[in-house]
């Protein structure tokens, strides 16, 4: 199989609001930086363009019409994926795998601040016939899942809150994070309940931003970059959409996504072979649940590990050194690509104050948030 590497990254943001730039200008800024980083000219070198967008988040139908000009893709192959940013990355990866393309870009963005009825948009993801008419705020889904996860594994509310303390603190060391903060465990635990047992500070806040990555095939990647970041394996999985019959305990979609990615990457023991991970933490308990599902620890063990500091920057298995969605800000469907971005920066040794030592292989995992069971994973190595 062909080798594929990430040879350029660029990003714009991440801030709670970005009134200075239109979404097109936000995407342009990220794209211009990524092309500069990769040393490519989009008009001459980039053969295909993948954009990640969901029409309801954009406010325009058929959003792919609003994409090509600001990423340099006019008169070239362009398409849009309604999925997580990692789904988009995988689409770009597969285009290179076909052999038809050598250089492909992927873009994902969030202009969450421009969606004035964002909670309604989230609600429209629920089944319109037998769920939505109950008119309960969809956050109850996270509350129900957290409740069942704690019940099943014995994980405590304190351990979930510790994830918030860790990730917001990591955000402080990340200049592009919107929500870095020094919080006490008590502050998290005493923040008001949103949907029991989920508390306000355990829910990531939205941010605006755009992320672009340039992918290239083996030889081309070696020519373009002194340090290509190789895509070793990818995986994705959707569980049942039904709230009535899904697995509320253990994020099976994450387990299956990771299994596929590990199989392709030849990883037999992720606990030993993955040096660090960026995993979805849209809600604090999700980092723990995903950590277990991704095989980074045993079921029911994640809470203890966060409590012991294993997942901190200087721990044995750092998790979300970027700050995750809790620290960086939730970037709608760009969130998964933000996870990948941090893995790339860490593997390149470009993560500044939060740089991890001796990391060679990292995992990124994205989830499309409530009410979905839609996940995607990628394993990256130097």
């Amino acid at each position: 199989m062909r080798q594929v590497a990430i040879v350029g990254v660029g990003y714009s943001g991440f801030r709670s609001i970005t009134p200075d730039l239109s979404y097109k200008e936000l995407m342009y800024e990220a794209a211009a930086k990524a092309y500069e980083d990769a040393g490519v000219d989009p008009r001459r070198d980039v053969e295909s363009f993948v954009s990640v967008a969901e029409d309801f988040n954009e406010g325009t139908s058929i959003f792919d019409e609003y994409v090509p000009d600001q990423i340099g893709g006019v008169l070239k192959p362009v398409h849009t994926i309604a999925g997580d940013g990692i789904h988009g990355l995988i689409a770009a990866y597969m285009q290179v795998l076909t052999g038809a393309m050598d250089i492909v870009m992927v873009e994902a963005h969030s202009k969450a601040s421009n969606v004035l009825t964002l909670s309604d948009v989230v609600a429209y993801a629920m089944d319109p016939v037998y769920n939505r008419p109950l008119r309960a705020n969809p956050l109850f889904i996270a509350g129900m899942e957290m409740n069942r996860y704690l019940y099943k594994t014995g994980t405590t509310e304190e351990q979930c809150a510790q994830v918030v303390v860790k990730n917001r603190a990591n955000g402080f060391l990340n200049p592009s994070a919107a929500y870095g903060a020094s919080l006490s465990l008590d502050a998290v635990l005493s923040s008001e309940p949103l949907s029991h047992p989920l508390k306000r500070l355990e829910v990531s806040s939205h941010a605006d931003g755009a992320i672009v990555m340039v992918l290239a095939s083996g030889d081309v990647a070696q020519e373009l970059s002194a340090l290509p970041i190789w895509i070793m394996g990818v995986g994705w999985c959707n569980e049942t959409p039904s709230l009535e019959t899904r697995d509320w305990e253990s994020a099976t979609y994450a387990r299956n996504s990771a299994r596929m990615a590990y199989r392709l990457a030849g990883i037999r023991n992720p606990r030993l072979e993955i040096d660090f991970a960026e995993v979805d933490d849209t809600f604090a308990y999700k980092e723990l649940q995903h950590m277990e599902a991704l095989g980074l620890c045993r079921e029911g063990e994640a809470g203890l590990l966060v409590e012991e500091g294993t997942t901190e920057l200087d721990g044995e298995l750092p998790l979300n050194p970027s700050g995750g969605s809790l620290g960086v800000g939730h970037l709608l469907d760009a969130s998964g690509l933000a996870r990948v971005l941090e893995v790339v920066l860490q593997l390149r040794g470009e993560a500044g104050q939060r740089q991890l030592e001796d990391v060679e292989t990292g995992l990124a995992f994205g989830w499309r948030s409530i009410p979905t069971t839609s996940g995607a994973a990628v394993v990256l190595s130097i």
Binding site: P19, D20, E25, A32, D69, V115, T117, P128
Partner: protein, 168 residues
């Protein structure tokens, strides 16, 4: 037509079946509101419309002048910041005479949407607007037109600050 049609003619539906609730459907009226940040290029464009002027932008590499303005040339990827005031006159590139309204109902008086190549912009660069003060039968491709502006105190910084274009 299949011979089975006679044996299995189906069950016809009428509007009354829907009205009487015999056919079950679920209705939902979406609440979708957006406030798009105009950004660098379009903010200036809208601000100049409020001033009663059309502004475009010129690419220093391929020399094309486009309107509405943008921060990057879509043809050669050059950053653009060479602002150019354009005239409020132009030439009809293409048009249609539209007898259905925005909500798909039938219109007695047609709307005439047109792409108008603005004088001072490059060939093929124009803005989409409406034509009026003209008999629909008299509109032609290549016709010279001019903007009809709202009075200054009614302009808000929107494309509708130009009411329509009319023949010069």
């Amino acid at each position: 037509m299949s011979a089975n049609v006679e044996n299995f003619p189906g069950t016809p539906l009428s509007q009354a079946d829907f009205d009487e609730g015999k056919i079950l459907t679920t209705h939902w009226k979406p609440k979708l509101e957006y406030g798009w940040d105009a950004g660098v290029a379009i903010s200036r464009y809208l601000a100049e419309l409020k001033n009663g002027r059309i502004i475009g932008i010129k690419c220093s590499r391929c020399r094309s002048t486009v309107v509405p303005p943008r921060v990057v040339c879509e043809w050669c990827w050059e950053p653009m910041d060479d602002w150019v005031y354009l005239k409020d006159t132009g030439t009809v590139n293409t048009f249609s005479i539209c007898y259905i309204r925005w909500d798909a109902s039938r219109a007695k008086e047609p709307q005439i949407p047109a792409v108008i190549e603005i004088d001072g912009a490059s060939k093929g660069a124009g803005i989409l607007h409406l034509l009026d003060e003209v008999n629909a039968d008299d509109v032609t491709i290549g016709m010279k037109v001019q903007a009809v502006w709202k009075p200054a105190d009614e302009r808000t910084g929107a494309i509708t600050d130009i009411r329509y274009f009319k023949p010069t």
